[in-house]
Assembly symmetry: C2
Homo-oligomer: 151 residues x 2
Amino acid sequence: MKASLIELHRTADERLQRDGQRYTANRRALIDALGGSDRPLSMPELLERSEGMAQSSAYRNLAILEEAGVVHRLVTSDDTARYELAEDLTGHHHHVICESCGSVLDIDAPPELEHGVHAFAESVAATHGFAVSHHRLDLVGTCAACAAART
Amino acid sequence: MKASLIELHRTADERLQRDGQRYTANRRALIDALGGSDRPLSMPELLERSEGMAQSSAYRNLAILEEAGVVHRLVTSDDTARYELAEDLTGHHHHVICESCGSVLDIDAPPELEHGVHAFAESVAATHGFAVSHHRLDLVGTCAACAAART
DNA sequence: ATGAGTGCAAAGGCTTTGCATTAGG
DNA sequence: CCTAATGCAAAGCCTTTGCACTCAT
């Protein structure tokens, strides 16, 4: 499901134009950074990968990219946000979150499990009049690195 | 699984003592607030329910209560934290999160689904050397109130 | 008395906003 | 040209910390 970078840029451009936004060099750099990662990136990580971009521009552009449905902002356990490409661009996946260092890893769940979650979501929607737009299934614990460091 | 308030206070007291902490009036008030709610509470909500408590005391005591394993802090979508009783005091449950107003509702998942999640967690633990301590399964969308307001 | 707990106010850290400058169409 | 986008610095907001005071043991 992972789209090529070229295709990714095309899609981003389309969605921004639909919102009356331009696909500038800064926005391109952010998409490159996110498209080249197999996990969500924090602001420091994004700035490292985006030579010379002002932090305020990064925040502003990420907000615009999220608005356009290209990027997704997520908050896990620590209070720093992380960003990833929208799910329809990366394929549905879940997160393994280290509560010690805050790092996040992408991971896929077996189809049976996804089915179960969808059924659950539908029953909740029906029961509570709640419009479920998506679900999150995170595994939280300690990553190998942190477990080792804690020795 | 929901313990009586009396039992809850006893447990909180025990766990705090184990940490060399006292079970003060402020801490009691926080536990009362959380124990009397069927959903996680934000700081403003907690202060409303805790007559005259200083915000700094609330933050400090919640941190101590979390350390003692009585309270759990969670961050959902907006950047305000919410607090609930530790899972072993409330029973395992999941959250329905409104991305419009940030409200959170507690909910139970069917046992089959929980089984599936556990199996998944174990396979990830084995594959990635990641120590899974717990999981989160959230349904994200728009609550009935927000859907109505948006008319 | 003695240290934990509290409230108030100040400081911190991530994120957002104001404003003058630069650049894309 | 004219508006959108950028960078810098200032402001905001939630949360944490410093400090003097109070309370319980």
